[in-house]
């Protein structure tokens, strides 16, 4: 069996008293891209919150490259090499573009071949370099998304969690974001891509997991899944 970059096993999670994830299990292979699909409220973002340590699960385990990180706080999960590009981007609005990258910088691991620093992030997103001194809150939506991705990369992650990076962006910008995702995957980063738009994911994903009402309803290699399977759980896409 190939190394699992990230694995959720038997996760039950609650927001207060409300039960939002039921026995959710899936795993992301090393250097693979897992597409996590589902309708609004299916539990996609909650799964990412559990993986990142923001929401501790009541049952089940989370592991990163075999190390159990269940119940660890987000800063410890980040130290294990997991980075999140959150839904809504959540860049630090009052910080400058450069400061957003600076606060997230983390030295690369010894074994790491693709090392991220200011120069590489700016080379990947030239718009950020042009605007490095500006307050991040003044960036356009597309630029904020670039910054959120760049910020995550500054942590030199082994696992990248991307929560609806296409949300609210113009088609041209979405294409740019997806090109970046492909490039990162090509460089060997293990990625979970959360999307409502299944079409976007099918182009790049090795594996697909579909959530519905907090349960895994479909799980398997992207190539073997029939569109009718998905249609049933996602509706029109």
């Amino acid at each position: 069996m190939a190394t699992e970059a990230l694995a959720l096993t038997g996760i039950d999670a609650y927001y207060g008293d409300s039960h939002v994830l039921y026995d959710v299990s899936f795993s992301l292979g090393e250097a693979k891209l897992l597409g996590l699909l589902g309708r609004n409220g299916a539990g996609k973002s909650t799964s990412m919150a559990v993986a990142m340590g923001i929401l501790p699960p009541r049952q089940g385990t989370v592991s990163v490259f075999g190390a159990d990180i269940t119940g660890k706080p987000p800063e410890a999960v980040a130290a294990q090499g997991v980075a999140l590009v959150p839904q809504g981007r959540r860049i630090f609005k009052s910080l400058s573009v450069a400061e957003n990258l600076l606060v997230a910088a983390r030295p690369p691991r010894k074994s790491q071949s693709n090392r991220w620093d200011f120069d590489r992030v700016y080379a990947a997103f030239p718009r950020l370099k042009e605007r490095q001194g500006q307050a991040a809150g003044l960036l356009s939506g597309g630029e904020q998304q670039m910054l959120a991705i760049g910020r995550a990369l500054m942590g030199n992650p082994r696992v990248l969690l991307m929560d609806e990076p296409s949300e609210g962006l113009a088609p041209q910008i979405v294409a740019e974001v997806m090109a970046t995702v492909k490039r990162l995957k090509g460089e060997g980063l293990s990625i979970i891509l959360v999307e409502q738009n299944a079409q976007l994911v099918f182009d790049v994903a090795d594996d697909i997991v579909v959530l519905n009402s907090g349960r895994v309803v479909v799980s398997g290699p992207a190539a073997t899944l029939s569109h009718t399977d998905l249609h049933q759980h996602l509706g029109v896409y």
């Binding site: 987000p74 980040a78 630090f92 910080l95 400061e99 606060v103 942590g155």
Partner: protein
């Protein structure tokens, strides 16, 4: 003429003290989302420690500035202990944390009363800063001008720390979105301790250098805390510029109010706070709280 210019200098001096007191209060509020009700107590504790050392402890009188340094370090350490071992236990429960700070402030007040008694301690100004500076027909107390200079230096240093260093950027990131700051790997809990200790140290330092002007007495804590609160509400929480401008405004209102409308001094003081709360609740320089 003399009256007005002296009142102006006094206002700016008091504004400088308020800035040292409220900068930390504002940062703690911005980052931890709690009004630290021990802040007045930390000011008073610093003042007592400083006054005691300057006045002579077991017969040995300490240099004013060494006393100020020692008081600052002692109270900063006390602040770090409060944060690490008491507030940390109530993480995420902000209401309980506020009540905890209130409880600690009452205990500090009792402790000070027990150790130093009910009589005010008078603190003399440092010897080299006695006397007056003459400008034409006017004469200004040198010590008050020195406080203004010190406050400006601290304002510049704090600005540099917050605006130009990685630690400062991390603190601002925590004020912006604490959860996201943790997600990118910032140990926000460590920032809490640093900021709390920094705020406590600044308050204590303000207490010492304010000692010769205000004297040190039981109840000094409860006189200073509302002023810090007004400054921060006026200027906006988590904003250094807000604390700076708010402190100057309150420095003027407090001194002019007491001189011109002594019966209405508190009314004049809290009126701008009410207006700001009604018209611009995030304060003059604050951002909308999420």
């Amino acid at each position: 003429m003399t009256f007005w210019s002296l009142l102006t200098v006094n206002s700016i001096t008091f504004g400088g003290l308020l800035f040292l007191l409220s900068a930390g209060f504002s940062l703690i509020f911005g980052l931890m989302r709690i009004p630290n009700l021990t802040h007045g107590s930390l000011f008073m504790l610093g003042a007592y420690v400083g006054a005691t050392m300057v006045g002579g402890l077991i017969g040995i009188s300490t240099d004013f500035w060494i006393a100020a340094l020692v008081a600052t370090i002692v109270v900063a350490a006390f602040g770090a202990v409060i944060e690490r071992f008491l507030l940390r236990q109530l993480l995420g429960n902000e209401r309980a944390q506020v009540l905890m700070t209130l409880g600690i402030s009452l205990m500090v007040a009792d402790f000070c009363l027990m150790v130093w008694g009910g009589d005010p301690l008078n603190m003399s100004t440092p010897a080299h800063l006695g006397g007056f500076v003459r400008a034409g027909p006017l004469a200004f107390p040198l010590y008050r001008l020195a406080i203004i200079v010190i406050a400006m230096i601290f304002a510049a240093a704090l600005w540099y720390l917050l605006d130009r260093t990685r630690l400062g950027a991390m603190i601002r990131a925590g004020v912006d979105d604490a959860e996201m700051a943790r997600v990118v790997g910032i140990r926000v809990s460590r920032l809490f301790t640093i900021v709390f200790a920094l705020g406590a140290g600044l308050a204590a330092f303000a207490g010492v250098i304010g000692g010769p002007i205000l004297s040190v007495y039981p109840g000094l804590d409860q006189d200073m805390l509302p002023l810090a609160l007004v400054v921060v509400i006026l200027g906006g929480t988590g904003s250094l510029l807000g604390s700076f401008v708010g402190s100057l405004i309150i420095g003027f209102i407090y001194n002019f109010g007491q001189a011109l409308l002594p019966e209405l001094a508190y009314f004049v003081l809290f009126l701008p706070m009410l207006l700001v709360l009604i018209l611009r609740p995030q304060g003059l320089f604050g951002r909308q709280m999420p």
